[in-house]
Symmetry: C2
Subunit: 337 residues, 2 copies
């Protein structure tokens, strides 16, 4: 089983590679190689693994060569993020739309040469959903909700979902698309994304730093740990065409949680002193953006694949703490102070 | 008012140009020029009109030059048709997706140079709708129906709707998209499209020729005359941003009619001898394709713009007969025989 992960140096891509290596199989077959492509270098722990091969550079430039290389499965995670796509419209179209099309065409080229269609999992996002004057937002979005993206990032993700569906219908790939909810808690630094605070209000206090809460505590949003998202991508990859049901993207389970519930969970897990490091300071720009986001997800199709959301936000925080203990204990220096 | 019509030599584009010239205005302003671009030459009656300028060649090759030319309104109708897109996947992507993006980028370039966003009407299609294993087809599709295209043509139309919405959101254009129903009665010869018989079973008998009916008479489908579709495109162009409501595509009204009702109307208008020239001869391939098409449309948003479907299929046939009397009396030689 030779697997390609685009965006393989990213947060989700790295965790996916680690999970696959830990399992040792996909679709019942032993892994023989994992190729990680990314514009950034892959993490050292992965790069040094004997089954891993790292390719660094823009995906678009690598697609021509992919026409001559067989993969048993492709996880297409590479993407410019939401904030970048709003700031640099051409970057978003190139990184998200053109690169995806070039990748799909490389796989299609292999079918034209007589190969079987390659199984491909496209990583989409709940950013495909948004309210429109003609269609007020439902409380919770589901697989049957009309996507109406409010960002270029969401638009490009939705467009790629439909390209994946059409290339699949034509028999050029065996494609599936899964919509990720907001991944929390992301490690590292604030990244300028409007959603950054969903991680920041947990991560910074645990590290002993103050965090700004830019929205009301009543804001509700679907979130999930990176491991739940990785589990979802693997389940979608392993599903039979019949079990997947239909050609359309499925939404992965998320925990529909309010900011207040997140803060309460932080206090329950880490104590009031850590919780007190979150300082409310409303930011109208961010509050306005977040008001256009789904307040929750309904995910019957994902449940049918055996996928579930995290059980509680306490669990989400505990999983982050465990990850930090293993990978970066310094990120928890606020926990004991 | 300087107007660009892409696909200006086509059936809908030609009628749109003729209607605009007859009105003499758009959005309350006098027409000064209509530019018709198409890969085929424009009709002589239009090409010789003093306000009309004709440009022949692929749209994609013309878009670079459009960066330096101001238009007050653009009707983007140019498109490879459904059958072509299924046969030649690359042609569809190039003609429908790449050309649309190049056109939108040309208009965006003008905004970058300080111009106001150009009003653009994108001609989409009810081909964006289709059943999926996960989402059984509703009896009638509406603006709130989840699009799930079953053809590359429908996929490309849907993708372009979302590009138009995003370029509009960013302020690069003032774009709107309208989904046309199946235009009936199309003049000319059968064109190989699966929908061709919807026109053929009326057109051929009126011309004194036999027509094959490849589906059951119980098949129901939304149809409209070319004039209703042109009226819809103009109304969408003239609607204020507020009256249009939202950024998403609207579905134009269609008459939800069964094949049996079409045949009854033909007999009522043209007599039993003409009706008898329709020969049922089921074609499993065509019947299978048509089974994936909408059986009707619900079009509340279009009604709010004052648009209505044709009153009856008898009216549809009578309008076709009037058109033929003016443009091509030979097409009615079966009417008197």
């Amino acid at each position: 089983m030779k697997i390609l992960i685009t965006g393989g140096a990213g947060f989700v891509g790295s965790r996916l590679a680690r999970s696959l290596l830990a399992r040792g199989t996909l679709c019942g077959r032993n892994l023989s190689r994992i190729v990680l492509t990314d514009q950034f270098p892959a993490r050292e722990e992965l790069a040094s693994h004997p089954l891993v091969e790292v390719r660094t550079g823009p995906l678009l430039a690598q697609c021509e060569a992919l026409r001559d290389e067989a993969f048993d499965a492709v996880f297409h995670l590479a993407s410019a993020v939401s904030g970048e796509c709003e700031t640099d419209f051409d970057l978003g179209l190139r990184s998200n739309l053109d690169s995806t099309r070039a990748l799909l065409d490389a796989l299609r080229h292999r079918v034209a040469g007589g190969a079987a269609p390659t199984r491909l999992v496209f990583s989409s996002s709940i950013a495909v959903f948004g309210p429109d004057a003609a269609y007020p937002f439902p409380t919770e979005v589901g697989d049957d909700t009309l996507p109406m993206p409010q960002t270029s990032y969401g638009t490009q993700k939705l467009i790629c979902e439909h390209l994946v569906a059409d290339y699949t219908r034509k028999g050029y790939i065996d494609g599936r698309a899964a919509r990720l909810v907001t991944v929390t808690v992301r490690p590292g630094r604030p990244n300028g994304a409007a959603s950054s605070f969903f991680s920041g209000i947990i991560r910074e206090p645990l590290a002993g730093e103050e965090a700004i809460l830019p929205v009301d505590a009543t804001v509700q949003h679907p979130v999930g740990t990176v491991q739940r998202m990785v589990d979802g991508l693997i389940a979608v990859a392993e599903a039979s065409r019949e079990a997947f049901v239909g050609r359309s993207a499925i939404t992965l389970p998320g925990l529909n949680v309010t900011v207040q519930q997140m803060l309460d969970a932080l206090e329950a897990v880490a104590g009031p002193k850590v919780r007190a490091r979150v300082k409310p300071q409303r930011d109208e720009r961010i509050a306005g953006i977040v008001a256009n986001w789904p307040r929750g997800v309904r995910t019957a199709r994902a449940h049918a694949l055996g996928l579930q959301a995290d059980a509680s936000f306490e669990d989400v925080i505990r999983e982050y703490i465990e990850d930090c203990r293993r990978d970066n204990p310094a990120a928890l220096k606020g926990l004991d102070s």
